[in-house]
């Protein structure tokens, strides 16, 4: 037990607890008034079809911020057993409210930041405990990627008339590749070969997807995508989703291949190109299967709630999947195609670069 009571771990624990406590009390950060609940009275309001019950919640609480701070008010909330489009409020929830008339208030949302903070802190602590300094690098690269993403959107939004969304994102993805691989792997030959392999794989596989979609004709309805009506260059938004979804997987494959070939050369500097390619092929066969499943489960499953609502409303299963899952499935398939293409591309590029530029390690 003593092993875990180091200064570093105690420090991590104290900082985490402070962050969570802060977010639990961060009312002053918000302009919207926040209601802390004291009491909820629930009454049955009526019945819908299929035994659905509707309830009315009379919620009393005290406002925690703004110029109404300290005021005790009551709001009403209508909720149902299913909660398709409403929320059953618990006593420990906190609500964002809006003052419509003098003394009439309504709920506009639930404050969820504390739960997100718990998860985020858990994530950061776990990654540091399990992975140490490498974990800090991963967090740094994630942070840089988030900043770049935000900047890219900002640049696009302020120049939307002049910029092509797709071209902007092709440029941005190259920056993503360079920064993420550099931060996590450092200035080494294998990093350069992974960067070049990723960029080539990305361009080739995206080019192929673009070609297939255009040859086949764009008969997909992109209007089922989230927020599509708010995207200014919506024609290209679909392509940007395809471009970005597979990007992480491409980087994953090129760095895996480049690292393992690097290891092989380190162990035996005189290894031939042919032998390298052969071992590389064996390694990569193990990756394809599980990688394409990661893409499928991560990107395709989010259609479940909408498809479920549709089949509960008697839409046939296949039609619901086709309607709500088509775009997602196309995106997943395009990413899978780029995963498969990235393997031979990275193999050849890494073999060439590592063989040519890598210097022998002196033992």
């Amino acid at each position: 037990m003593k092993k875990y009571l180091t200064l570093k771990n105690i420090l991590i624990f104290v900082i985490s607890l402070t962050i969570i406590l802060f977010v639990y009390n961060d009312y002053f950060l918000y302009k919207t008034p926040i209601l802390k609940i004291n009491n909820i009275e629930t009454t049955v309001e009526g019945y819908g079809s299929y035994n659905e019950k509707y309830y009315n919640q009379k919620i009393t609480g005290v406002i925690k911020n703004g110029n109404l701070k300290g005021k005790i008010i009551t709001v009403n909330n209508v909720t149902s057993t299913s909660g398709v489009n409403d929320e059953q409020i618990h006593k420990r929830s906190e609500l964002f409210i809006k003052q419509s008339n003098n003394n009439i208030y309504s709920i506009i949302g639930v404050k969820r930041d504390k739960y997100i903070a718990i998860l985020a802190v858990l994530f950061i602590d776990l990654i540091i405990l399990v992975s140490g300094i490498q974990g800090v690098k991963t967090l740094l690269s994630l942070f840089v990627n988030i900043i770049i993403s935000a900047l890219a959107i900002f640049v696009f939004q302020s120049n939307a008339d002049r910029l092509n969304l797709l071209l902007l994102y092709i440029f941005v993805s190259m920056i993503f590749i360079i920064t993420s691989l550099f931060i996590t792997n450092g200035n080494k030959t294998k990093t350069y070969s992974a960067i070049i392999s990723s960029i080539v794989s990305l361009l080739v596989s995206f080019g192929l997807s673009y070609l297939i979609i255009n040859i086949h004709g764009r008969d997909v309805t992109i209007w089922t995508m989230d927020y599509i009506e708010y995207v200014r260059d919506y024609e290209n938004y679909f392509y940007v989703c395809i471009l970005l979804s597979g990007l992480g997987a491409i980087m994953d494959i090129s760095i895996t291949i480049s690292s393992s070939l690097n290891e092989l050369i380190d162990k035996n500097f005189k290894i031939t190109k042919k032998a390298l390619l052969k071992s590389g092929r064996e390694i990569s066969k193990d990756i394809i299967g599980t990688m394409s499943n990661v893409m499928l489960y991560t990107c395709f499953t989010p259609i479940v709630p909408l498809a479920f609502l549709a089949i509960k409303n008697n839409m046939p299963l296949m039609r619901a999947i086709n309607y709500y899952g088509e775009i997602e499935l196309i995106i997943v398939l395009c990413s899978c195609i780029s995963i498969v293409l990235a393997i031979p591309i990275s193999l050849y590029i890494s073999t060439y670069i590592l063989k040519k530029y890598k210097k022998e390690v002196v033992k």
């Binding site: 919207t32 909660g83 992975s131 974990g135 297939i212 299967g289 599980t290 991560t298 196309i330």
Partner: protein, 247 residues
């Protein structure tokens, strides 16, 4: 379109992966079939969280045993995945029930407008189940990579003891982790781009009340957490099972 893309995917898989590639294709479509089964069984009124756990276990069985066969690597991965799945379920159920993440958000009200909302089925559980199935892909990926690598290490250095084997598993895990996090971030980022564009076109304070954004970010963080938790657990269980297998 999907047929054409599937065909190209299959051809490329056969060229690059040969027999393994074909197995990958089969697993891919079996996984889609599993998600369809999930929807079908939910319609009959069974509990969504319970069903999601069953689907995750089936997905693990299908992916591990079709792609990698039945051996000590896949067995130790399977046991580790069961443990992690239980841990993730506990966290997800706690967050899901406290954070009011059920149902759809104001922004997507147009797309659900024509449906009746009287479905008599708890949407909180649907979302929790969705989160669980979303994370299973990355859990399987990380787990099998670690146990395979540990097996190789053991084959090449049979003199290593259990503790040293565990340490080598953790080292492999650390290497994989940063790329896994990257993969997940980019797989989910496209939904954030749309969100931020919407966010620019409405008032600024709306960030505080967007349920859809909260749902996405919770999904991302849960996948991250699951992919970290699987590392020590697989390393530990594989080190025990590989040593036992030797005797």
């Amino acid at each position: 379109m999907i047929k054409l893309l599937s065909l190209i995917f299959l051809i490329l898989l056969l060229i690059v992966g040969k027999k393994r590639g074909f197995k990958t294709f089969i697993t891919f479509y079996l996984s889609i079939f599993l998600i369809m089964m999930y929807l079908t069984f939910m319609k009959t009124g069974l509990n969504a969280i319970f069903l999601a756990i069953i689907i995750c276990l089936l997905a693990t069985l299908v992916t591990l045993f079709i792609l990698n066969g039945s051996n000590v690597k896949t067995k130790s991965s399977f046991i580790s995945i069961v443990f992690v799945l239980l841990l993730v379920t506990i966290i997800t159920v706690f967050i899901g029930n406290s954070a009011n993440i059920q149902g759809f958000s104001l922004e997507s009200i147009e797309s659900i407008g024509y449906y009746s909302h009287d479905i008599n089925y708890d949407m909180t559980n649907v979302i929790i189940g969705m989160y669980l199935i979303c994370t299973i892909g990355t859990i399987i990926d990380t787990s099998i990579s670690i146990s395979s690598a540990m097996y190789e290490v053991h084959e090449n250095n049979p003199q290593l003891n259990k503790k040293e084997l565990f340490v080598s598993g953790m080292n492999v895990g650390k290497d994989i982790l940063s790329t896994t996090i990257n993969t997940l971030y980019f797989a989910l980022i496209s939904s954030f781009i749309g969100f931020f564009m919407w966010f620019y076109s409405v008032s600024f304070d709306f960030l505080s009340v967007s349920k859809s954004f909260d749902q996405n970010i919770i999904q991302l963080l849960l996948s991250f957490i699951a992919s970290i938790m699987i590392i020590p657990i697989t390393s530990y269980i594989s080190s025990i099972m590989i040593m036992k297998n030797k005797k």
